[in-house]
Amino acid sequence: EDQVTQSPEALRLQEGESSSLNCSYTVSGLRGLFWYRQDPGKGPEFLFTLYSAGEEKEKERLKATLTKKESFLHITAPKPEDSATYLCAVQAGSVRANNLFFGTGTRLTVIP
């Protein structure tokens, strides 16, 4: 059965304190792994897509990496505005029509 697990569930960081969020997955034939950011009361906002092990993508203070079993979202020198819930999703070979299977997210709080 396809499964996506995100850890930790919640993370509190001081401003400037770098850290990583983890997304581990068990799927049949990964076609893509996606990271989203979600602010309270809003829809998820697309950040990155990773397609193959070893791939990395960066955007401002965020860098996403992918291995055959997990993905990391590295946050370098975070600012309070990076506070949000970060969602990981996978698209697998067994799923039709580009459907995504989501993890439950990591709620990040960055303290000034």
């Binding site: 076609r31 996606f34 829809g43 998820p44 697309f46 969602l87 698209q91 029509a97 580009n98 439950t104």
Partner: protein
């Protein structure tokens, strides 16, 4: 929100009543999706559409139906609302071939009393 609107944004309804949520896109994307988001469950797919009048079931489709008569509109109907359908509903769109990421609307908060 990538040219996606949802209506209504908030709704309170009584158990047993039918409810229709609307998703409208201006991106001319082929694929459209309805998800629900509940604490501890993450986003779960209800139904999706891969073209006008072409729809299929997702992970949690019981009690829901959908229709897509135009490229830009995707309707989600709760045939007889129950308290377990209290949730936040998100619509998403996707461009299809070579572009798998989905873009989400602002959501509809539905409360069934």
């Amino acid at each position: 929100d990538a040219g996606i609107t949802q209506s209504p944004r908030h709704k309170v309804t009584e158990t047993g009543t039918p409810v229709t949520l609307r998703c409208h896109q201006t991106e001319n994307h082929r694929y459209m999706y309805w998800y629900r988001q509940d604490p501890g469950h993450g986003l779960r797919l209800i139904h999706y559409s891969y073209g006008v009048k072409d729809t299929d079931k997702g992970e949690v489709s019981d009690g829901y139906s959908v229709s897509r008569s135009k490229t830009e509109d995707f309707l989600l109907t709760l045939e007889s609302a129950t308290s377990s359908q209290t949730s936040v509903y998100f619509c998403a769109i996707s461009g299809g071939t070579g572009s798998y990421e989905q873009y989400f609307g602002p959501g509809t908060r539905l409360t069934v009393t």
